[in-house]
């Protein structure tokens, strides 16, 4: 009977040390997704980072294409502005089909970049 409190005190001495050791072991910072729990570990941070990298490269290539297209549009409009001073108003109507062609070309190129 008298030994009981002593042994209790002894356990109290040991428990904090065990707890400290356990605290120092850290688990994942975010809960795993269902896919990670059930199977393929590649569907996690790794895949997320690969997707970010892919999106970054897509963004750069689309931006480059877009800047080229805007450049072509600017050349078209300036050319038309200069031309219309000498050749007459009808020239301005040619701009519309050319803009449609530019749009279709950009549409195809943008899809091409994405499906590679």
């Amino acid at each position: 009977m008298t030994a009981r409190p002593a042994s209790d005190e002894g356990e109290d001495d040991v428990a904090p040390a065990v707890r400290d050791r356990r605290v120092s072991v850290r688990g994942p910072q975010t809960p795993p997704t269902l896919d990670e729990v059930l199977g393929d570990p590649r569907r996690g941070f790794v895949a997320e980072r690969a997707r970010a990298e892919q999106a970054r490269s897509l963004r750069r290539r689309q931006l480059r294409l877009n800047i080229v297209t805007v450049g072509l549009l600017a050349v078209l409009l300036v050319g038309m502005g200069v031309g219309a001073r000498y050749e007459g108003i009808l020239l301005t109507l040619v701009v519309y089909p050319l803009m449609v062609l530019l749009a279709l070309w950009a549409l195809r190129r943008a899809r091409g970049i994405e499906t590679l």
């Binding site: 997707r51 999106a55 805007v70 519309y96 549409l107 899809r111």
Partner: protein
């Protein structure tokens, strides 16, 4: 006869509203029409909404008033959809946001940016509704003999009836039809007028020499107009909201590409009519904004002229109704989300505010030119929301502080330019048309401020969402 044309257009619009009502199911449907709409329908709907009083009456009026310098206006409008196709359509759709402020909160995680965007959207909407109502006043006065406010009041009542009952699904179906109505209303008179004016009856003044007129005028105005109109399209809430109704990012691009064609066809016809008006109406002795409606009587003297006037007036009302309802839907959606937690009741209160304020402004400002007012709206949008959207989609370093300072700069510079050019008699061209400097200035301020502050932590994740095609997304994390 013209009153009958107005009545037919208004009745048809309301009927389509009631018909569309049965297709509305949930709050989600109410806002974005469930994303089940094909690119061509969607493009027709956007074109139906986009081709406003400024396009229908203003382009012809401005070409008549300014001569060939006015030709830049429709070119800028069309180029805007090319800019949308290139820079905005797909990423905006992939963002999954409903409205412009939604997009801003996703990208910047900042309540300040969202609130500022809301203010800009509401201001843009209000300013844009004014020329529509003004157009209704002008057309009603000119063609029916009724007082002008009857026409504006009619537009307000029909728009509220349609918007309050059906929401966007209704408006999508109705707007798609509106494009074809407007195209027909311009094309049919154009065929008669241009053939007759180009023929022998109307004399030599209109035939060969007209096409040989060369474009003169200030290249600064031309550049400023085209820049403001093409970049401004990126900041128009009623156009952007429709890109959410595409099934995916590439469909959004196809919608934008189709728009370059749909809008282009319309403007080619408008330009031909404008050039005819220069010859047929003589020097600008009348109000420019009614030039289109005066044209049939000037060229065709018989009853055909009266019929064509009725067709044109019908088309003009289609333009007022569709642009106004599109603007009212987007402005009230934004007001509802900002102030009423996105409830349908808030949407209805928002709709009343979205149409009430411009109605008051229209009554107050009676000497607004349609095309001039719309150029101002585009310049405002192009200097505030548009640079933030463009850099937000394509530049990873942009910050909330940069976005806020850019929008403030744009609002201040366009506001200042408007005030100065309004009070001074001989304002420099670049104050009347500030786009050429105010738009680059906003970009510069955003970039400078962003480089000294930290971008949001979520930047990489958000840009991935915006630029990765839907089929590459893989499993999304919960």
């Amino acid at each position: 006869m013209t009153s009958a044309a107005i009545a037919v257009i208004c009745t048809a619009t309301i009927l389509m509203g009631v018909f569309g009502l049965s297709l509305t199911r949930s709050t989600g449907d109410f806002y974005v029409a469930s994303r089940r709409i094909s690119p061509l329908t969607n493009a027709s709907a956007i074109a139906g909404e986009y081709l406003s009083a400024a396009s229908f009456l203003g382009v012809v009026g401005l070409i008549y008033l300014w001569g060939p310098q006015g030709l830049w206006l429709p070119i800028g409008y069309t180029a805007g959809f090319l800019v949308l196709l290139l820079f905005v359509a797909a990423p905006l759709r992939r963002s999954g946001a409903y409205t412009l402020p939604d997009f801003m909160i996703l990208r910047f995680r900042s309540a300040v940016v969202r609130r500022m965007t809301t203010v800009v959207v509401v201001l843009t909407g209000w300013l844009y509704v004014v020329p529509q109502l003004r157009g209704a006043v002008i057309v009603t006065e000119f063609s029916t003999g009724l007082p002008g406010w009857v026409g504006a009041g009619l537009v307000v009542v029909v728009v509220l009836a349609v918007v309050l009952s059906g929401g966007m699904r209704t408006v999508t179906v109705a707007q798609a039809v509106q494009y074809w109505v407007k195209l027909a209303a311009l094309l049919i008179p154009a065929v008669f007028i241009v053939l007759r004016a180009g023929g022998e009856d109307a004399g030599q003044a209109l035939s060969e020499p007209l096409w040989r007129v060369t474009v003169q005028g200030d290249p600064l105005i031309a550049a400023s107009l085209v820049l403001a109109l093409s970049v401004g399209a990126v900041g128009l809430p009623h156009v952007l909201v429709r890109f959410y109704t595409n099934p995916d990012g590439h469909a959004a691009r196809r919608t934008a590409a189709a728009l370059v064609g749909l809008v282009g066809i319309f403007y080619v016809i408008a330009v031909l009519l404008g050039l005819t008006a220069v010859g047929a109406l003589g020097p600008s002795n009348t109000e420019a904004d009614t030039a289109l409606i005066q044209l049939p009587a000037a060229v065709l003297s018989d009853a055909t002229g009266d019929v064509l006037v009725a067709v044109l007036v019908g088309g003009a009302f289609a333009a007022f109704l569709s642009t106004t309802s599109g603007l009212v839907v987007s402005v009230s959606g934004v007001i509802s989300q900002e102030l009423f937690g996105g409830s349908v009741r808030g949407f209805r209160i928002g709709a009343l505010a979205a149409v009430g304020v411009p109605a008051g402004l229209t009554a107050a400002a009676t000497d607004v030119s349609l095309a001039g007012a719309v150029v101002l709206v585009f310049t405002f949008a192009a200097s505030t929301v548009a640079p933030v959207m463009l850099l937000g989609i394509w530049w990873s370093r942009i910050t909330a502080a940069g976005a806020v300072s850019g929008m403030l700069t744009g609002a201040a510079s366009t506001g200042l330019a408007v005030v100065v050019s309004a009070v001074s008699v001989q304002a420099p061209v670049l104050l009347t048309y500030p786009g050429l400097w105010s738009i680059p200035l906003s970009f510069a301020v955003i970039i400078a401020v962003s480089l000294t502050t930290e971008p949001p932590a979520s930047t990489s994740a958000v840009l991935t969402k915006l630029h990765l095609p839907e089929e590459h997304r893989g499993q999304s994390r919960p």
